[in-house]
Symmetry: C2
Subunit: 213 residues, 2 copies
Amino acid sequence: MPRQNTSHGARTRESILRAAADAASVDGLDGLSIGRLAAGLDMSKSGLFAHFGSKEDLQLATIEEARQRYAREVIAPGQAEGPGVNRIYALCESFLSYVERAVFPGGCFFAAAMAEFDCKAPGPVRERIAECQHQWMATLEHAVEEALAMGELRTGSDPRQLAFELEAALLAANWYFHLYSDATYFDRSRRAVRARLVSEATPAGLRSLKAGG
Amino acid sequence: MPRQNTSHGARTRESILRAAADAASVDGLDGLSIGRLAAGLDMSKSGLFAHFGSKEDLQLATIEEARQRYAREVIAPGQAEGPGVNRIYALCESFLSYVERAVFPGGCFFAAAMAEFDCKAPGPVRERIAECQHQWMATLEHAVEEALAMGELRTGSDPRQLAFELEAALLAANWYFHLYSDATYFDRSRRAVRARLVSEATPAGLRSLKAGG
């Protein structure tokens, strides 16, 4: 029954990667322990190791699992909103909601991974994290460009600057909410995001923002 | 010669803590390895261990070393500016300069420590990091309150909200500068800080900001 075996193997691999992404969001990607993961999944270390050639392979596969979860939980709901200022707001809101709903137990997987690897030596893991983070920033910037093209943001708006400032407010909520177990940081972040969009919006953009809630 | 021994011991302890704070800014406080530190300082592991009862003691002493460095390199130069919007700007600027000058090789020690411990179980190390981070936010908030009392910020300004948004811009520069080795993130952060202060300043505050450069 090779098909059944393959599908069993694929399910096992998925379970490992889900557990690994959850664990890495709390303890870091370098903190991933094959022994601890195996114990948590009631597997042998060698059984788990059979799915991944090395710790680096496990880390890269874990990042891919996290990227898919992020795409599903943050990017897709944000993009579901039509283009314009409301899409920018929706992307930010879905990020905050994803942290608030503890999609990863340790908060944003990529915020944690960026903080862990930002000063480490170059290598495939660091490079992949930088690519994923770039993908997210490009998504925000593209949403700003769309809103500009639609006349919902003032012509002087700088997509990279605005995306940087929105991302800053989102990341700060992620750290401070967890450090102090205080959900008012989400309110602060939402206020910051909305005020920033209001300050750059044209009258048409303001009408969209109000209509969008 | 007990005095000489004591002062030699104190100097050794200082060297250990400086090296530990530098290393922790890159590899994390949990990544501190007594073996690696000892090798780097050309000491024996037991010699190094004699200065600290446990890894937790070493971590707490390392945080204290980092707190003093932060007070000297960020808070003191910021506070040297007279009260008002320029002091708020100076605090933000000295934070960015401290990251830019690589006072710690891994960027802001406390940003890294907060990211490492934000989702970890409670304990003395996590608690101390939260206290230090609170001290910094209180410094920013107090500077905002002073500027409000002097009539340099509009009466509707919310010190905690403004401090949160400034801190967000600073932290984001720390991560993105290191991840992409791109110093334009400091410019983005400075632009964000200045724009935020300009948007909340009274005419008197704007005059101070312009005079202060």
